[in-house]
């Protein structure tokens, strides 16, 4: 009995020693893995801190109806733009060639809603008419995007359509799309967005240099 117990303790003698060979390598590997994981976590955290997004910004004043070219745009990095109506820089290529619905001034961020495809411009029922305005036939302060009234002087005797006013001229509601003052003589070249039905009349009056542009209050501002 005692013998058997002795033998069982013999096989499990307490050994006051530890071999430290391969185990050290295991711990070394474990430590290296731990360092790698820590580095990854740190890198991810730093990357998230610097979570800035590139957005498209106009390099100059862009009128409504302008076909966006690559040189009109630059990329600015801003943070926290998730909830804003912006165009991210990865959409730069598809943005080029599209048309602005609204004017954008230099240095402004292009809003997401400002763009439309070429086919969608001008809108349904609208027409774009070009005109050259002599000095004095437009307010000097008028700017692209302004809501204007196109007044046609009635000296030629045309009196069909349009709102007849007291002085015998006709007035058509329009939006000033672009405005360019020529250097010589103060003549202004403008593009006007008018109702498609009025386009022919406005165009012929413009050809005869009989139109004036009057700035009115925007319809939305009533």
């Amino acid at each position: 009995m005692t013998d058997r117990r002795d033998r069982s303790t013999a096989s499990q003698a307490q050994v006051r020693l530890l071999g430290t060979g391969p185990r050290r390598w295991r711990w070394l590997g474990f430590g290296a893995a731990l360092m790698a994981v820590g580095g990854l976590i740190a890198a991810t955290a730093v990357g998230r801190l610097d979570d800035r997004q590139g957005v498209l910004v106009a390099t100059g004043d862009l009128p409504a109806g302008h076909v966006v070219a690559a040189e009109d745009l630059k990329v600015a990095d801003i943070g926290g733009a998730d909830g804003l109506s912006v165009i991210p820089d990865d959409r730069l290529e598809e943005t080029v060639g599209q048309i602005l619905n609204v004017p954008v001034s230099e240095g402004s961020v292009l809003p997401n809603t400002a763009l439309g495809p070429k086919a969608a411009y001008p809108g349904a029922g609208e027409a774009v008419v070009g005109a050259a305005l002599a000095p004095g036939r437009f307010p000097a302060s008028v700017r692209p995007g302004a809501q204007v009234s196109v007044v046609i002087s009635s000296d030629s005797g045309t009196d069909t359509g349009g709102a007849q006013d007291g002085s015998g001229g006709q007035a058509f509601g329009a939006r000033l799309q672009s405005f360019e003052e020529a250097e010589d003589g103060g003549v202004a070249l403008v593009e006007l967005v008018v109702d498609a039905g009025d386009a022919a009349q406005v165009a012929s009056a413009a050809a005869a240099e009989r139109i004036s542009v009057v700035q009115v209050r925007a319809r939305g501002g009533d």
Partner: protein, 266 residues
């Protein structure tokens, strides 16, 4: 009951340091044993276990000259030991014979630091024993001496011719035979010393002792198992009583301690 055990060889390289370290590491009892590497040819343990050589044998030898009170002498060995992973205290020798030999000589002149009656037992690794050397003087300070020998003709013949002188010098002396196919009884008769145990060649166990490999249950490996069996016998004081000392008709009866079983079990 053995308190101080000397492990040595007479020639060859039977693995004295490895066996002494295994013996100390499996010494029974709560206090265990402290290993003193007192090999005059220089120590290996510091290199195996990547330890500094101080505190160690040199510091112990220096302290042995000054410690006069029995209390301080009892604590000196443990005070100059380093603890290995696992808990074995080891007093390591410097690597060169130049420094280790000097320390052994100094220690052999003041062996009282090895005779502590309390605390852990002491296992001395003496390396190769040369007659009339400081190592031999130091060996006499041990209660019990274990002679490790390869089972080959030349080694056994050397042991046989030295047996009488050795048996006269030590209180208790026994053989531990490394490898071999001869029976314990045959060897005991041939060399006229009792065989206390056999230790096989155990590459895994030896690598474990040197700190080169880990093991989940090293106590089951042959080297440590053999060491544990001897450690239990020595600690119980029944080494000579239960060891194979040859048949009753052994040529020379082994040096019998006075009533070993009675004192050991008391």
């Amino acid at each position: 009951m053995a308190r101080t055990v000397a492990v040595f060889s007479l020639g060859g390289a039977p693995g004295v340091t490895t066996f002494a370290m295994a013996l100390a590491s499996v010494w029974p009892g709560k206090a265990g044993a402290v290993l003193l590497e007192a090999d005059a040819a220089g120590g290996d343990i510091a290199a195996w276990r990547r330890l500094p050589t101080s505190p160690g044998l040199v510091d112990l030898a220096a302290a042995a000259r000054h410690e006069q009170t029995p209390g301080a002498q009892a604590l000196a060995l443990l005070a100059h030991a380093q603890t290995l992973p696992g808990g074995l205290p080891v007093c390591v020798a410097p690597a060169t014979a130049e420094r280790a030999g000097g320390a052994v000589r100094l220690l052999s002149q003041h062996p009282r630091v090895l005779a502590a009656r309390t605390g852990p037992a002491a296992v001395m690794d003496l390396g190769r024993l040369v007659p009339r050397s400081p190592t031999a003087q130091l060996a006499v300070a041990a209660d019990t001496a274990v002679l490790l020998v390869h089972d080959d003709l030349a080694q056994l013949r050397r042991v046989k011719e030295a047996a009488a002188a050795l048996a006269a010098g030590f209180g208790e002396l026994g053989l531990v035979v490394r490898d071999g196919r001869d029976s314990d009884t045959e060897i005991a008769q041939a060399v006229e010393l009792p065989v206390w145990g056999r230790v096989p060649t155990d590459a895994k166990g030896a690598a474990f002792v040197r700190g080169e490999r880990a093991g989940r249950r090293p106590g089951r490996w042959p080297l440590l198992n053999a060491a544990a069996a001897l450690a239990r016998r020595l600690a119980d004081g029944g080494a000579t009583a239960s060891a194979v000392a040859g048949p009753p008709a052994a040529v020379v009866p082994p040096a019998a301690p006075p009533a070993p079983t009675a004192t050991g079990r008391a």
